[in-house]
Subunit: 165 residues, 2 copies
């Protein structure tokens, strides 16, 4: 994978603070939104057990997830750079919880008060397939190792030039 | 439904030019992005038969779809106003094709060249369930009749004050 693709993915991860989940509901497939952070190759989600997508994940932990460049008025909506993931969601193990919470709140500081609610839990998605869609017809498979290297938050901070961070 | 909710939904439909699809893939559920327009209570999608989500829809036409307010740097990502749909996708019938194409291109003018490609087709989603999520815990079921009235493009043009159109 070229450094260029890695840089574009890191820019996307800095810009997009929400992702879109595809989960299996009781009667049909559902599309929903959630803030996310990345940590050690996982995608962290902080979800309420009262939310429908969380109940869907509980019954069917294999989901789809998209991180898409936010729309801008001066950009075409046809070819927004984006990442598509398929994988499995599980609870963050107890021994990783403190580190994961720290990273999540660095990324989504507004979520702090939600950690006081008993129904909110930190979950993590472990991806089996990742695809980068850089524009019209520009797709590229991303390996787990590549994703781990690119998505590590510390790595992003260090690699991005100051003007883009 | 209050006029306030209708107005918020119309503002969302003006701002968001893309939607997020949840489709059943060969091996797992997939999340993807597509531009959309609204027409006579349907959501129009102009998709290439070469794209994976189109192949998924062909095999499993019942999908989930989300239209979400684009992220803004000064807004919290926790409570972006959004609409969640579940429904069935089918081809736009021949007798509606000219009108649907006209409305689609009014909404997504950049898509014009794609109508020359044989693999692109106009599809429409007919929703069975629609939910408005106006913010944290603020959800509201929207009936088909309400959606039809709110989403009609002409209606939007007429109802929104000039500063918001």
């Amino acid at each position: 994978m070229s450094n260029n693709v890695a840089l574009h993915i890191q820019q996307l991860l800095k810009k997009a603070r929400v992702c879109f989940l595809a989960t299996q509901g009781k009667h049909s497939i559902e599309s929903s939104m959630a803030p996310y952070a990345t940590h050690q190759g996982h995608i962290l989600l902080h979800l309420s057990s009262l939310a429908r997508h969380t109940q869907n994940i509980h019954h069917h932990p294999n989901i789809g997830l998209m991180i898409c460049s936010p729309e801008a008025a001066n950009e075409s909506p046809l070819a927004l750079p984006r990442l598509s993931f398929q994988g499995k969601v599980s609870a963050v193990p107890d021994e990783r919880l403190a580190a994961a919470k720290h990273v999540y709140l660095e990324t989504i500081p507004d979520a702090e008060p939600l950690f006081a609610f008993a129904d909110f839990k930190l979950l993590r998605m472990t991806s089996a397939h990742i695809q980068w869609i850089g524009g019209f017809g520009l797709t590229k498979k991303i390996s787990m190792q590549q994703w781990h290297n690119i998505s590590d938050r510390g790595t992003i901070e260090k690699r991005l030039p100051p003007s883009q961070s």
